[in-house]
């Protein structure tokens, strides 16, 4: 079965350090989403792309977060500098067409100390 792959699965880092999370969407999918999940806020949409172009990143703190798709097989989410409040599970998901069901990766659990 095709699946969305996220790396790393777990990341522990100190406040102020740069964090890069990577996602390999399912081949042929042209929409990619980044979500953040915490107990307090639930699933928050951070950014999404269609055909590698960013359509909406209004959910991201712009001063420290950035999301890119350097090519169709790689999406990245970067936090610089990281803060303890960024601790969460970050999910990447991809879909074949707009409004279609999404396929999720298993997430990156980020802990910032």
């Amino acid at each position: 079965d095709a699946r969305v792959t996220q790396t790393p699965r777990h990341k522990v880092t100190e406040m102020g350090q740069e964090v890069t999370m990577r996602c390999q969407p399912i081949l042929g999918h042209n929409t990619v989403f980044w979500y953040r999940q915490t107990m307090m806020q639930g699933l928050e949409l951070l950014a999404y792309f269609r055909n590698r172009a960013p359509l909406d990143d209004s959910g991201m703190p712009k001063d420290r977060f950035s999301a890119e798709m350097p090519d169709a097989t790689l999406a990245t989410l970067k936090i610089q500098p990281s803060e303890p409040r960024d601790s969460a599970v970050y999910f990447c998901a991809s879909g074949s067409i707009p409004a279609s069901p999404l396929h999720f990766g298993n997430g990156t659990r980020l802990t910032v100390t």
């Binding site: 699933l43 949409l45 707009p98 990766g105």
Partner: protein, 111 residues
């Protein structure tokens, strides 16, 4: 911001019983989707219902949609211990692209 709100927040039932979860949303939608999340894993799509549909079935799952009340329900019949998970509704709104999730219902099925 969350578009959908699930009710109840948590549900505990015995194996074999039916489980019903409800979802309310705020704006007009293109479609509504239900997902399941097992502990420590990503979300898995269960079923999609379009705004012009009222009911949909998939195996032991039954989803209804009432656009006049901006609400949906997910019914799991004859529940099993393996159904223990969190269940989320999600709506496609706005530009028709982004999928916004509710807070979820934690379902526990006791064997």
């Amino acid at each position: 911001s969350q578009q959908g709100e699930e009710d109840p927040q948590a549900l505990s039932i015995q194996e074999g019983e039916n489980a019903t979860m409800n979802c309310s949303y705020k704006t007009s939608i293109n479609n509504l989707q239900w997902y399941r999340q097992n502990s420590g894993r990503g979300l898995v799509h269960l079923i999609l219902i379009r705004s012009n549909e009222r009911e949909k079935h998939s195996g032991r799952l039954r989803v209804t949609l009432d656009t006049s009340k901006k609400s949906s329900s997910l019914l799991i019949t004859a529940s099993r211990a393996a159904d223990t998970a969190s269940y989320f509704c999600a709506t496609v709104a706005g530009d028709g692209n982004k999928l916004v999730f509710g807070a979820g219902t934690i379902l526990r099925v006791k064997s």
